[in-house]
Symmetry: C2
Subunit: 176 residues, 2 copies
């Protein structure tokens, strides 16, 4: 059950310490730029087909990279000053209003996608969809039990079949 | 089988693209500093007890942080210019000779360690040792089959029971 371990790794190796710092970085960003974010939660995208492109603009032109938040540096497992940062995106709705949000795909989905492409992994596309759902449910459960992370995130499950008919599916889902 | 997924994640989400770049970064480092490294391989530490401290100096005073290699930036899963970097350590042997090596602990071991501490994870210390071994064997197999990564790494399994009697166990193992 690959997804179970990936959800724990994503929480323990990332969300557990970046989520509590997010509010402070959003405040610093406001002090530096005067920009107010639509939400200081980390919006975490979970596409069911595990397709997580590097640039969201390729998926929906109403989601544009704006700027990175101030970075965080930590000594971890022998790597000194390892860098952690998030990207702010500018999202335009159907009325041309602008929203600034901190958004990113759940990176472990890249692992699930690539495993389904690597013949050594013996991992099919059906396994993959099942594992994305297991990742989502496990992560959701872990985060709900975590006092440090409560209310600091939003998990957004994206159905690619629904998205096929709607080019603005991503922007609509983020600002809901 | 948590370790199986963590090994794939560590390869697909990290080693597969950092290992091929290592030689180039070691060359850049030589151009900037004139320092020659004992090896341009990434030395990956795998302690059987999954204890991976932030600073190696705490484990063995003959392993001292020297400097970071030049960093690499990639757009990944919506995070723009995510930073990847490695640390160079200065290792002193029993004859006071100095070696420069690129070393770090295998980060997923932190996940295994913390899972065994988190009551929500239902993961015992026995599970943990078994999973570290499974991680090592899976990773070893994946890396041996990978043309891009061949000869660019060294996996170093560390037995904490052996280390207990020898304060210089870590430095000795790295420069073997
Ligand atoms: N030593 C080291 N230096 C790195 O820069 C690095 N980046 C990743 N990894 C390890 O490779 C594997 C794959 O990474 P992935 O990004 O898919 O998952 C990552 C990713 O989803 C998230 N995460 C960690 N660091 C960041 C980050 N800087 N930005 C965004 N997400 C991050 O949390 C997961 C677990 O991270 P780690 O537990 O640190 O170990 C990872 C993992 O075992 C690294 N290991």
């Amino acid at each position: 059950n690959v997804a179970h371990g990936l959800a724990w790794s994503y929480f323990l190796g990332y969300l557990k310490f970046v989520l509590p710092e997010l509010e402070e970085q959003v405040r610093k960003h406001y002090n530096q730029t005067g920009e107010i974010l639509h939400s200081s939660r980390l919006h975490i995208l979970l596409p069911l087909n595990a397709v997580a492109p590097a640039k969201m603009e390729e998926v929906d032109q109403n989601v544009l990279f704006h700027q990175n938040l101030p970075e965080m540096q930590l000594d971890r497992a022998g790597v000194r000053k390892r860098v952690y940062k998030h990207s702010i995106y500018r999202i335009i709705d159907h009325e041309q209003k602008t929203y600034f949000c901190v958004v990113e795909y759940a990176t472990p989905l890249l692992t699930l996608y690539q495993m389904s492409q690597d013949s050594t992994a013996a991992f099919s596309e059906q396994d993959r969809t099942q594992q994305v759902l297991l990742f989502y449910r496990t992560l959701n459960h872990i985060l709900e039990c975590s006092l440090e992370c409560r209310n600091r995130y939003r998990l957004i499950l994206l159905d690619d079949q629904q998205a096929d008919g709607e080019p603005q599916h991503l922007s609509t889902e983020i600002i809901k």
